[in-house]
């Protein structure tokens, strides 16, 4: 890997927007690092799944959407939900189980949801959300609007029944859905080749007559361009697209997992193509000053730290709130 490799700059994206991408990726990376520390300190219940390494997929894809478009993601969803615009502090708050958390402390790390920004849910049952975006997408068709629903899911999730039913229905109904497979090579502790008899998951799109493309998920420019095209097709009523974004999670599957099953040197090779580094190089190549980027990084770090501090100061949910929100 060349030391000067950089992300691909889409000609049509203003530099200002490209800077926003970097800012978003930085905040997400710092957010995840805080989460990592929070577990260590016993502040996070249940499990948590970090997306560090996959930011270019989430940010590149979400920034190809309008704010009114919808997005569903997995339990490894902090990055996606933040990329769609959820506030840092309320995300922290939810993970900490606070009353002001996004879901009033009822969802937790695996279930971050912010309907107000179109982040309709983080789903922890494999495949569960793919059928759900069929409905949000059909609602757009129903109303004659041109909104799009984007759905993230992992490589391992392509083996579950709901995946199949969803791609089929989306295709036959020509729904405005963009399916983005975050292929990070592993499902839990299993390398994809251990569970899946095809080398490229994108071939599965053919089973539904659906356009499919496999891309470099570390390159935010490529992600953004590809998703933008798929979104445009969806808006134009031309139906769904399947995108397989090759990426990598730097941490183990969940907090308990050190990732010992990985071949030596694999992580290191991927780290060289860290999306933050690649995109920083692209920005530098476009004339952005290093100092601007350094300051952006420092600001992001501070912003995240402040958000966490705020969230930590919030109250726990009142006992009686546990009985609310079951029915209207």
């Amino acid at each position: 890997m060349s030391k000067t490799a950089s992300s691909t700059v889409p000609a049509t994206v203003p530099l200002e927007e490209q800077l926003e991408w970097q800012r978003a990726m930085l905040e997400i990376r710092f957010f995840e690092e805080e989460c990592h520390r929070m577990f260590a300190r016993g502040l996070v219940r249940g499990s948590t799944h970090l997306a560090a390494g996959q930011e270019a997929v989430n940010v590149g894809a979400c920034r190809a959407l309008r704010p009114t478009d919808l997005m569903a993601c997995t339990y490894r969803g902090h990055a996606a939900v933040l990329a769609k615009g959820a506030p840092l502090d309320r995300c922290f708050g939810e993970i900490l189980g606070k009353a002001e958390g996004l879901c009033r402390g009822k969802g937790g790390s695996m279930h971050l949801t912010d309907m107000s920004v179109g982040a309709i849910g983080s789903f922890a049952i494999i495949g569960a959300h793919l059928p759900i975006v069929l409905g949000t997408a059909y609602a757009e068709v129903y109303r004659g609007s041109d909104g799009v629903s984007l759905c993230f899911f992992g490589d391992g999730s392509t083996n579950i029944g709901a995946f199949h039913e969803s791609l089929n229905l989306a295709a036959i109904w020509k729904l405005p859905v963009v399916f983005v497979c975050e292929n990070n090579l592993y499902g839990e502790f299993s390398p994809i080749a251990h569970t899946t008899p095809v080398d490229e998951l994108v071939v599965r799109a053919d089973a539904y007559g659906m356009p499919g493309v496999r891309i470099d998920g570390m390159d935010i420019g490529v992600v953004h361009t590809t998703v933008s095209e798929a979104v445009a097709r969806a808006r134009a009523g031309e139906g769904p697209t399947f995108i397989e974004a090759m990426t990598y999670r730097y941490k183990g599957h969940s907090r308990a997992d050190p990732g010992a099953y990985r071949p030596e040197g694999e992580l290191e090779r991927w780290l060289e193509r860290d999306p933050l580094i690649l995109h920083e190089r692209a920005l530098l190549a476009q004339g952005v000053e290093q100092t601007v980027l350094d300051e952006m990084r420092a600001t992001a770090e501070r912003t995240v730290a402040d958000a966490l501090e705020r969230a930590m100061s919030w109250a726990d949910p009142a006992p009686e709130t546990r009985l609310e929100d079951v029915y209207a």
Partner: protein, 326 residues
Amino acid sequence: MSRTITYREAVVEALADAMEEDETVFLFGEDVAEAGGPFKLSEGLLERFGPRRVRDTPISEQAIVGTAIGASLSGLRPVAEIMFADFAAVCFDGIVNELAKYRYMTGGQVDVPATIRLGNGAGAGFAAQHSQSVENWFLNVPGLKIAVPGTPADAYGLLRAAIRDPDPVLVFEHKHLFNHKGEVADTPEVVELGRAEVVRAGSDVTLVATQLMRHRALEAAELLAGEGVSVEVIDPRTLVPLDLETIGASLDRTNRLVIAQECSHDGSWGATLVSRLMADRFEMLDAPPLIVGGDETPIPYAGGLEELWIPSVERIADGVRRTLAF
């Protein structure tokens, strides 16, 4: 003014009226559109409302339930049909883990006004996998509402209420009642969810039953009237919410409880009802509550066997007699 229609006609009419009333209501499922429904429960609706609002799906129940959830999130009022209620098993996750919990897990961020209609019940020889009374699978799943209409009026009224409701409602339509006829008003009423109906007043024993059993319970009550026994027959109509007040008030007068249900005992709505009533009205009872139900077996195919499995009028009457004899 009122008229007589079948349960099937009541369902079709409810769907049509709901779609007429509210532009966000739409219906979908396997063969509901061009074929008018596998049980003809949507006959004529495609012609009337067009393919945007009456849609056929592939054989993909998970996708069907998911579509209902997603459309709800986006502010529509989807009505999904699951042909045989037993097929709820292939989309169980969507119903119990997503649909039921969506509002709660998001801290109340959304309404989820989906209606799922399912063809319930035994009696026609469809055997163990196409005859179950599937409402019992969902009792331990807070977040769902459950309607079990037993008459054309309730088939209409509960379905209309379900579609208007901001929460997910499972509506179990009983296959063996599709041709059953009953009275409905010219402009049929919407039936509030959570209100039991006292189908027949009585003073000696409270007999609770739904769907097909409601009719057999009524017959049993008539039979017993001839023996000088006064049976109060109550149809809860929805199992969630459950109208404990009406049933409890009856019990306070009769002091005896019999339940007739078309399912085995364990994990059933009848057992649930007994337990709830025991907690509140233990001292009101003069005899042990008695459940007349299906055997603790799958439902057999052969006519003679299925007939024995489903509680008969005679078995129900006998349950009442035993309770009175206690």
